[in-house]
């Protein structure tokens, strides 16, 4: 079964410091990996994805993620955290329904709450 794990329930970081939110994955075949952010009482917003190509993926709001095949990781990073980055972050892996239909399921990690302290 394909899955992602987010080992930290909560990450605290001081404003202006670099942040890392960890994600590891377990898939058969090539992974399709995503990061989403969720603010309180809101839906999920897409941040970035890894499909193929460069291991360093750049996304929205200054976030980036590094795909590491040997460590099966896809950690989310930002060089300088903002208070407004405080939110719930989900890593997800695509479980393909390769029936030709092209639809797929996202399997989410349990989420990591990021708190940026002023």
């Amino acid at each position: 079964a394909q899955s992602v794990a987010q080992p930290e329930d909560q990450v605290n970081v001081a404003e202006g410091n670099p942040l890392t939110v960890k994600c590891t994955y377990s898939v058969s075949g090539n992974p399709y990996l995503f990061w989403y952010v969720q603010y309180p009482n809101r839906g999920l917003q897409f941040l970035l994805k890894y499909i193929t190509g460069d291991n360093l993926v750049k996304g929205s709001y200054g976030f980036e993620a590094e795909f590491n095949k040997s460590q099966t990781s896809f950690h989310l990073k930002k060089p300088s955290a903002l208070v407004s980055d405080s939110a719930l972050y989900f890593c997800a892996v695509k479980v393909g329904l390769y029936s030709g239909a092209g639809s797929y399921q996202l399997t989410f990690g349990k989420g990591t709450k990021l708190s940026v302290i002023p």
């Binding site: 839906g43 999920l44 989900f90 092209g102 639809s103 989420g111």
Partner: protein, 115 residues
């Protein structure tokens, strides 16, 4: 702006009283998904439509049904809500076809309260 819209944002219903949540999209995406998200948990896929083809997850209770009358709209019907069905319900869309890396776009969600 193209987007995914969910109405209402907050819904209160009584135990056992049927309720319908709605989702519409202006993205013209083939695929529409319904997720259930309980407090501080990951979203859980209930079912999805690829065009008119309905795909139910194996562990989705029969109490949950869905309708997609056209490309733009999708409804989630809860026939007899129980207290355990109180959650945030998220609608999402994606392009289908061969775009294997197509991300899903989420609506703002409907928070359901069951009294």
């Amino acid at each position: 702006d193209a987007m995914v819209i969910q109405n209402p944002r907050y819904q209160v219903t009584q135990f056992g009283k049927p309720v319908t949540l709605s989702c519409s999209q202006t993205l013209n995406h083939n695929v529409m998904y319904w997720y259930q998200q309980k407090s501080s948990q990951a979203p859980k896929l209930l079912f999805h439509y690829y065009d008119k083809d309905f795909n139910n997850e194996a562990d989705t209770p029969d109490n949950f049904q869905s309708r997609r009358p056209n490309t733009s709209f999708c409804f989630l019907d809860i026939r007899s809500p129980g207290l355990g069905d109180a959650a945030m319900y998220l609608c999402a869309t994606s392009r289908g076809g061969q775009g294997k890396g197509n991300e899903q776009f989420f609506g703002p969600g409907t928070r359901l309260t069951v009294l």
